[in-house]
């Protein structure tokens, strides 16, 4: 890995984002809009206080999954990946470059949603703001890493976008957001235990109900980070210097 090349890659991806005003607007406006909708759909503040943080963990995950899978698929099909692979660029330079750029984008995204939620929408947070930002950004990085990995299995942008419902929606159903996990059938609960989004939502639940940084939260953070690293390494394995 080479720091200068990694940072140049981050700069390049941010420059691409800067040129694409519509994507930037969607990245920032959509999660905020959904939070506003959620607040007024519920009418009751305590329901919003319970669900709001969980969705704060979900939005960056979903958005980053889609953005990254399409962005890396473009690198693959547009020939720029092959060109980079013929240059002195390490696979990790590219992956970490993406992680830094999209991590930064996620930070802005989460920041805007948080400001709106905590002021206008009156979200009452029991836990600390710092741990909420930490978990939300980790969720975004997890979405990014999985999107990167998934893009290796897509031939077209159509397919890449379809991976979102295929990989994300089942996790949304099982992560405890809709029905608490202890009320699920045994095999479903077991399944939910090996899915990363479960820990993302559980972490947010901890933050919304407990004032301290609990042991459960620490485990959640560690599991999300481990999933992210594993997905990045699997993603690195799908970047090939030589192809047919």
């Amino acid at each position: 890995m080479n720091l200068a090349i990694t940072l140049a890659t981050t700069r390049r991806i941010l420059a691409q984002l800067r040129h694409d005003h519509r994507t930037v607007a969607l990245l920032i406006v959509v999660p905020s809009l959904l939070m506003i909708l959620l607040r007024y759909v519920f009418q009751r503040q305590e329901a919003f206080d319970r669900l709001g943080p969980m969705l704060l963990g979900l939005f960056p995950f979903v958005v980053m999954f889609v953005v990254t899978s399409v962005a890396t698929l473009r690198e693959r099909t547009g020939g720029t990946l092959e060109r980079l692979m013929s240059m002195p660029l390490g696979k990790l330079d590219l992956l970490v470059g993406y992680a830094l750029a999209f991590g930064l984008a996620a930070l802005v995204q989460v920041g805007v949603v948080l400001v709106i939620s905590l002021t206008w929408l009156g979200l009452d947070l029991t836990g600390s703001l710092a741990s909420l930002v930490l978990v939300a950004v980790l969720d975004a990085l997890l979405g990014m890493a999985l999107g990167l990995f998934a893009s290796a299995f897509a031939r077209t942008e159509f397919q890449a976008v379809q991976f979102m419902p295929a990989l994300v929606l089942p996790q949304t159903l099982l992560c405890g957001l809709i029905i608490p996990r202890d009320q699920m059938a045994g095999w479903l609960e077991a399944l939910s235990r090996v899915l990363p989004l479960t820990y993302a939502v559980q972490g947010m639940q901890e933050i919304s109900t407990r004032p301290r940084f609990t042991g459960t939260l620490a485990t959640d953070v560690a599991v999300i980070a481990a999933f992210t690293v594993a997905a990045l390494l699997l993603g690195a394995a799908t970047l090939r210097r030589r192809t047919v």
Partner: protein
Amino acid sequence: MMSSSPAVRVRDLRVVRGGREVLHGLSFDVPRGRVVGLLGPSGCGKTTVMRALVGVQIVRSGQVTVLGEEAGSPGLRDRVGYATQAPAVYGDLTVAENLRYFASVLRAPRGDVDRVIEEVGLTGNRDQPVGTLSGGQHSRANLAVALLGSPELLVLDEPTVGLDPVLRRELWTLFRELAGRGVTLVVSSHVMDEAGRTDRLLLMREGRILADGAPAELRERTGAADLEEAFLRLIDETAGSPA
């Protein structure tokens, strides 16, 4: 002696794509500091040969040695410049932004960006997003990336396609200049009139090398007036002698 060893040495190169052998045991050398043309109809395997030289092609068997190292070795990654036929640049970035990024990856000096923009004649389009360029400008932006740094071998896949004759002449002048500085160039084309500008020609057809020699030599050998005719005669020759 190092300097007298060829820039490229290919021995019995076989490549299989989609279950079909597309290169059937190619062997050739490219001497240093020369402009070598890779000519042949579309689909004859030119691009596959070039991908093998750069080391991005999975090969079935054979040896490809580039600048004394195995093609694709890490040590070659900033010594070989490669421009694919379909432009591999970021359409949403400007010409300068693209070049700045690739220059950082190659650790090329900063001034290189301006140098290559001028060399490919894109000074007026420097800050224009690549996606809004015309086809010819787009392919020149692609070529500019390959010129960054100081590559000792340039592998250029149809770099002059779609360009007007004036620009084409300018690019060939640039190629000659580079060769004069000791750079080796492998340039593919399917336009026969460009073949005359090379030092050496590799004529390809259906995954085989039909002929390998200087343009004048090939004309002489076949007794043809131009290279197009020479190419046809060579095809007849190989078809006529099943040895």
